[in-house]
């Protein structure tokens, strides 16, 4: 570490913020991988790893990956839900590594959801 100039401050801040977006619960997109027993058995871990790798290759820092339990559609696993800020959540089913990559490219990076893999838009009503 050397002596800082004022311009360096922003660089350090930028670098630190990459790690901290997650802490602040912010982020432009959220990928939720359904990881109930059914999901894990159907290969959800592999899907999650694919997304983690995609995030690394694309060097994006505003995408959050989280996991949740079974969504009740065990025969459609592995399954994910993608939420872009301000848009309705989209559920994708029966994923493979290749499908996951395409979803990342088109939905996360370009904002267009992949209709042919999508199962539903929106969530159930909670009473």
């Amino acid at each position: 570490m050397g002596k800082l100039k004022i311009e360096d401050l922003e660089k350090i801040a930028e670098e630190a913020r990459k790690k901290m977006t997650i802490r602040e619960g912010g982020g432009r997109a959220k990928i939720t991988v359904h990881m109930g027993t059914c999901g894990i058995a159907a290969g959800a871990r592999n899907i999650m790893n694919t997304f983690l790798k995609e995030i690394e290759t694309h060097d994006v820092h505003d995408v959050i990956i989280t996991s949740t339990g079974c969504a009740g559609l065990c025969n459609k696993e592995p399954m994910i839900t993608i939420e872009l800020t301000g848009q309705a959540p989209v559920k994708y089913i029966q994923l493979t590594e290749a499908k996951a990559k395409r979803i990342f490219d088109e939905h996360i990076m370009k904002g267009k959801f992949v209709q042919e893999y999508a199962y539903a838009i929106g969530s159930e009503k909670i009473l």
Binding site: L4, M48, L52, I64
Partner: protein, 610 residues
């Protein structure tokens, strides 16, 4: 892998550390490794989250899931369920008092939801030992702004206009203090951070330092630049705060490495450095003049203040002393503006800097309250909201009696004044004070005479002894309170107590003596009937003062309901209970030590206290 999908924020403030937070951190690291999640989950240690009563606590981000009262044995299950399978563990979450459903998200727990954070803005969000984390949250941007675009006098004007007042107790307008020190003659001037928090039950400053030490350093940098001719600052912190000292040391070292302390900061020709001075933990050294004598290496005793420290302070040089919380507020005022800061709080400071209380105040909430911990609330919030909304009310449905604000030198505030807006003037009006922000809640089981005695015994013990009114006066007052709680007091003693109080208030040299009688005066004002019960009827209504209470067994209840169960006799440590199994029992008053064990173990309510 640079990004982890899960960040485990482990609170490592002193409260959680003493509840084994470091073992919890190690357990997380172990389990994460065991489950092969090292690339997905990172463990981060943070400063105090404030909810100390729920510690050791952990917040799992990005979802903000709040886990409390963790044990090392909970961690394997937590990691497997939540991190691996995505099922947050309900039984480790916070459940509000008298409710059944846990609240998973930190932001939805009333304790956190009702707070406004300025001084504690980074709590739980940054690792206090990483300067990059502080910079990532906008740190050192304020000093950069000041050095590039503001003249020293503009900084003083900004702080004055914000309405910021001393958070250590006095409530002196910070900008006015800076201005006086700036105008004072002298080529060498100093700034000091008072981190000698000594009130029993107060831990605001310690938590700020432990959670965000750089905010204090940046505040001091801005103050030094504004006052001018300041190249050296001191942080005075007590030895009893080892973690705070450690975090300051780390922070100062990192700031020096980045050139944020030292010569020619940001190449703007501004030099400033900070040294830590450790105090021995004398309460009087929190008083500004005593603190400065202590830094000079002499016995920490106060001096008369007709010569102000801003003119002649440390080594007779102009010195500006502010407390930890005050300094921590400064960078935010510079970044967000005086207008933003003064929009929070009470009164109007545009003409008179004493005209209102602006911004927020950090309080440590302790005693008989459900959510003990550290809270930051806007000035002007009612005492009721602090105790019942943020604090979650009184445990076990007991009745509130009084709240002691301002530490041992503050006063008691009774239930009738609970809707009082909390600011400097309102608290002073009712005989208490803001102080540094200690808040001790008492309930129906606390005896006010006993509480007053407790606080007075603290100030009496901590009196430095330099001036007679404080040294002797508080001693005599304590003798009288002792007599009253022993059942040997008379009505004349109450008169004498009042007389002595006003003598000590009026003739003591420093604020320690000047405020020491406050707990006595306010408890006599609002709970006079309790004092009278002690001296007139020789009774302690709260059943606290042992010489004034008597235990007895209702023999009818004992035999008819309890069938002489004999439990009390077996548990009695004084062998004071007479009776055989299946027969009525009674207490021999000559042997009874009044420990209360029999009362606690009797399942049939046969034992009475009067």
């Amino acid at each position: 892998m640079t990004t982890h999908r899960i960040q485990v924020m482990v609170c490592t403030g002193t409260g959680c550390v003493s509840n084994h937070a470091f073992e919890i951190r190690d357990a997380f690291e172990r389990e994460i490794k065991k489950n092969n999640l090292q690339t997905e989950a990172a463990v981060i240690t943070t400063g105090c989250n404030g909810f100390c009563g729920a510690g050791p606590l952990v917040v799992v981000q990005p979802d903000g899931i709040f886990y409390q009262l963790l044990k090392v044995s909970d961690i394997p299950h937590l990691v497997a369920e939540h991190f691996l399978k995505g099922r947050p563990v309900k039984k480790l979450m916070y459940i509000p008092p008298e409710e059944k459903t846990p609240i998973p998200k930190m932001s939805e727990i009333p304790f956190f939801a009702d707070q406004t954070l300025i001084a504690l803005r980074n709590r739980g969000m940054i690792d206090p030992e990483k300067i990059e984390d502080y910079i990532g949250r906008g740190g050192y941007k304020a000093i950069a702004k000041v050095l590039t675009s503001m003249k020293p006098e503009e900084v003083v004007t900004e702080i004055k206009a914000s309405g910021l007042r001393g958070r250590g107790g006095g409530g002196f307008p910070t900008g006015v203090k800076w201005e006086s020190c700036k105008k004072a003659h002298g080529t060498a001037k100093y700034v000091i951070c008072n981190a000698d928090e000594g009130d029993p039950g107060a831990f605001m400053d310690r938590s700020i330092v432990e959670g965000d030490p750089h905010s204090v350093i940046e505040g001091m940098l801005i103050g030094a630049y504004a006052i001018e001719n300041v190249t050296q600052g001191f942080i005075y912190v007590r030895m009893q705060y080892p973690l705070a000292i450690h975090r300051f040391e780390v922070a100062i070292k990192q700031a020096r490495e980045y050139g944020l302390l030292g010569k020619n900061i940001f190449d703007k020709g501004f030099d400033f450095d900070i040294e830590i001075r450790r105090g021995a933990g004398a309460f009087v050294c929190g008083e500004s003049t005593a603190l400065m004598t202590s830094i000079e290496g002499k016995v920490g005793e106060p001096r008369a203040k007709y010569i102000h420290t801003v003119e002649k302070g440390l080594w007779d040089c102009p010195t500006c002393l502010n407390n930890v919380e005050t300094w921590a507020n400064v960078p935010q005022i510079i970044l967000k503006g005086a207008k933003w800061f003064s929009s929070i709080g009470t009164g109007d400071v545009s003409v008179d800097p004493w005209g209102g209380s602006k911004g927020t105040k950090v309080f440590s909430l302790a005693g008989k309250v459900n959510n003990t911990g550290l809270v930051e609330v806007p000035m002007g919030i009612t005492m009721r909201d602090i105790i019942y909304k943020v604090g979650g009310g009184i445990p076990e449905g007991k009745k509130f009696k009084a709240v002691q604000t301002g530490g041992p030198s503050g006063g008691f505030i009774p239930e009738t004044l609970l809707d009082l807006p909390v600011d400097y003037e309102e608290l002073a009006k009712v005989g208490s004070m803001m102080g540094s922000g200690g808040m001790l809640v008492t309930d129906e089981e606390n005896c006010m005479v006993d509480m007053a005695k407790y606080f007075l015994s603290f100030t009496q013990d901590e009196s430095c002894g330099k001036c007679i009114p404080c040294r002797e006066g508080t001693k005599r007052m304590l003798d009288i309170l002792d007599k009253i709680t022993m059942g040997k007091g008379s009505e004349e003693d109450l008169v004498m107590l009042e007389e002595l109080s006003s003598m000590v208030v009026e003739s003591s040299l420093c604020a320690l003596g000047g405020s020491a009688p406050n707990p006595v005066l306010t408890s006599m004002k609002y709970f006079r009937e309790e004092y009278e019960a002690h001296v007139r009827d020789k009774k302690c209504p709260a059943h606290v003062c042992k010489p004034l209470i008597k235990y007895s067994i209702d023999e009818n209840v004992c035999i008819q309901v309890g069938h002489g169960c004999d439990v009390c006799r077996k548990q009695c440590i004084d062998n004071a209970i007479i009776g055989e199994k299946n027969q009525a029992h009674r207490i021999d008053p000559s042997k009874c030590g009044k420990c209360g064990i029999c009362y606690d173990v009797c399942k049939f309510d046969a034992i009475h206290i009067e």
